[in-house]
Amino acid sequence: MSSFRNRLIVFVVLVIAVTVVSVVAVGRAWYREPTHNAKAPAAGRASLARMVSSPHVIFRSTHDDGTYGRLVVGSLAHPGGARAATRLECDRVDFAAGRGICLHANHGVFTRYVSAYDAIIFDSAFRPLRKFNLGGLPSRARMRSDGRMAAYTIFVAGDSYAARTFSTRTYLVDTATAKPIVQLERFTVRKDGKVFRNIDFNFWGVTFERRGDGFYATLGTGGKAYLVHGHVGSRTANVVAGVPPFVECPSLSPDGTRIAFKRRIEHGLAPVTWQIAVLDLRTKHVTLLPEKRNVDDQVEWQDNSHLLYGLGEPNAAETDVWRVNADGRGKPQRVLTGAWSPSVVSGYTLPVG
């Protein structure tokens, strides 16, 4: 029948239109993709040595200048100043005492079926020492101040009976062997002195104490986010009493007296947003910081009175690093453009070789 012919014509035209639109969209995006720029050369040894000799910051570059996605050394004293790009590619990075951890997502074909998320342990000259598979989407990374232990959090899909949600897993790893020491989910948790256990336990955002084997982290369960204080040796953690249950991604100040975190704010059906705040560990007083935008980052202490965090427009490849006073005074300032996941490092001499 002729009407079948007409319908077939309509269908063919539609298929052609869809194909053309798709090809154009893919092509346009391909040309805009920052990672398709010619790669900028990695900085030479001399400039790298100069950059790391004084206090500096290392971070993920989100600049569309050929360094996109790479680990870069910069200075907080001169926001627009010199930068030295390394060869490492990192989504999250942290560094202490000559050891760094870099979490990297390869956006590859098999990401869904066999995870292509890696962690790299690197030395003070940014040479990779160890590499291991992450098994999930990188979320947070922290190095202990002695450089011997690192913690990282990943997102794992399909962990729940409500299919297609995903949960977090947090591991402590020995940086010398790159072998996981323990998964936080295996820790015995106590709340008000009693053992606390739930199937929906999720841990994320470890921050280490400067001395000993203590750490803080977030324990998520039943829609609440508790601050827990754990000990690696005994595999135990306690919910910190007197702290409201909305402390996510804690970050311990260098003097160990305060915890910067992102405070969860619910919006009914809309996704939650976060505001950064500082908790005094002694008085349990919470100070909200004058940053009104949604911050989804584990805050980094620049020193005992300043905080650094990443911010970006949704759906934009570029992000910036901002600074705010930890006491809640003053206004946020942009300190690094095209940067993400800052890690503050004191100066050292670049090793030979």
């Binding site: 269908f11 539609l14 893919v26 995006a29 869904r112 995870s115 992450l134 399909g158 199937i199 949704p314």
Partner: protein, 418 residues
């Protein structure tokens, strides 16, 4: 009384008498599902990446949406089924459901970057899925002869699964080329979705149910009351009860993978491979099991699926399974899905009058999926209190007891050649 030939309208009688004809509608609806699922899975596959890296929502706030749509989806499914049966508008209602999902893809493109409408469009897609399932299955059941219904549903589910497996592949090929090309993926997904909807609108014929046959003597009127009255029929109620009771003892696959992961101490990176493995077994077995159901009886194959599930529970009790055992579990799980999903619809077809096909299917699927959800929550609760081994044991015993009882009830409820 429904088995007596005199009460069956001519078209239905033809479908019942003839053997082996599967209308082109079945393949076309399979293609509609293939493209729609491909489009959907493209989005689903990159969602975790997109949400965390681009939107910065943080994964945990996201689960909320998932739980929310369950209830509204069930209600919409029942309403959709009823509207579809009124005047036999299966195609129109299915098109509305597929249309909602297509619109939601364009919504994702338009709202890329802003958080609130983005989640709204995800919900819209799932509501669309709720609306379309029953009338689509009704069209499949009305487009094939009764002797080959199992095969017809097998064909449809196979094509559907092909789409679900291709989606992530297409998405990640694109993402490998354009690491920030999420909105591009949404554009392509919207296009693919349009093709699926176009096949439905342009080529799928709305199968005429019995209402066109005035000689139908006991043709029930289409109303909510008539649909509810289906439950008073012995055959329908025995199917609904079987589906619900067995569904209550069914662990969702997410939990199966969790138990495997827990017992085998599996690296989390293999987790997605468990999904893939199950889907491949489902893909391979859906058609053979459909054929088998046509030959040896649908109730038998349906119950056989649950025997596979019992066997899988037994394997899950092994506290340190090797790779082979894990594979066997996935094979049994895939076999369970292949033997129950489409086959249940084929089984229900034989007892639900054509005029109430969509609403009848909606009732059956709502009952089974709701009881499965309850079962999963119970499984999680037992796990939390007594550990994974205890919850598997409880479900094993429960299913082993329920299975023979359901078999007896199905045997009593269904007409002889089940």
């Amino acid at each position: 009384m429904y088995t007596s030939i005199r009460t069956i309208p001519a078209a239905a009688a033809r479908r019942r008498a003839r053997r082996g004809r599967i209308g082109s509608n079945v393949f076309l609806l399979g293609l509609v599902s293939l493209f729609t699922d491909l489009a959907q899975e493209m989005v689903t596959a990159v969602l975790p990446l997109y949400v965390t890296f681009q939107l910065g929502i943080g994964a945990l706030g996201f689960g909320l949406v998932d739980g929310l749509y369950q209830g509204s989806s069930a209600l919409l499914r029942l309403i959709g089924g009823l509207v579809a049966d009124r005047g036999g508008r299966h195609k129109q209602v299915a098109a509305t459901g597929y249309g909602l999902s297509t619109v939601s893809k364009f919504g994702l493109v338009a709202s890329a970057g802003t958080v609130v409408p983005f989640t709204g469009f995800l919900v819209l897609d799932r509501l669309g899925k709720g609306v379309r399932t029953a009338p689509r299955d009704a069209m499949i059941s009305l487009s094939a002869d009764e002797g080959v219904l199992g095969r017809a549903f097998g064909i449809h589910r196979t094509l559907d699964t092909v789409g679900a497996l291709l989606g992530p592949l297409v998405a990640f090929i694109l993402l490998a080329q354009i690491p920030h090309g999420y909105s591009t993926i949404f554009v392509v997904s919207a296009g693919v979705s349009v093709i699926g909807l176009a096949i439905l609108l342009l080529f799928v014929r709305n199968p005429k149910p019995a209402e066109a046959e005035p000689q139908a003597i006991e043709a029930p009127k289409v109303s909510a009351r008539a649909a509810a009255a289906l439950l008073r029929r012995r055959d329908v109620s025995s199917i609904v009860i079987a589906g619900s009771v067995l569904g209550l003892m069914t662990v969702s696959d997410g939990f199966v993978y969790l138990v495997l992961q827990h017992n085998a101490d599996l690296d989390p990176r293999w987790f997605p491979l468990l999904y893939l493995g199950t889907a491949l077994f489902y893909l391979a077995l859906a058609l053979p099991f459909g054929n088998l159901a046509d030959r040896v009886g649908r109730a038998r194959v349906f119950l056989g699926g649950y025997v596979a599930l019992v066997a899988m529970y037994v394997l899950l009790l092994n506290s340190s399974p090797g790779a082979l055992l894990v594979l066997a579990c996935l094979a049994l799980l895939g076999a369970y899905y292949a033997a129950t999903d489409g086959v249940l619809m084929a089984l229900a077809t034989t007892c639900i009058p054509e005029r109430l096909r969509s609403s009848g299917f909606a009732i059956v699927t709502t009952a089974t999926s709701t009881s499965r959800l309850v079962g999963s929550i119970a499984f999680g609760a037992i796990w939390a209190a007594f550990g994974p081994a205890a919850s598997v044991q409880v479900f094993l015993v429960g299913l082993a007891v329920a299975l023979p009882l359901t078999a007896i009830s199905l045997r009593r409820g269904l007409p002889k050649p089940a």
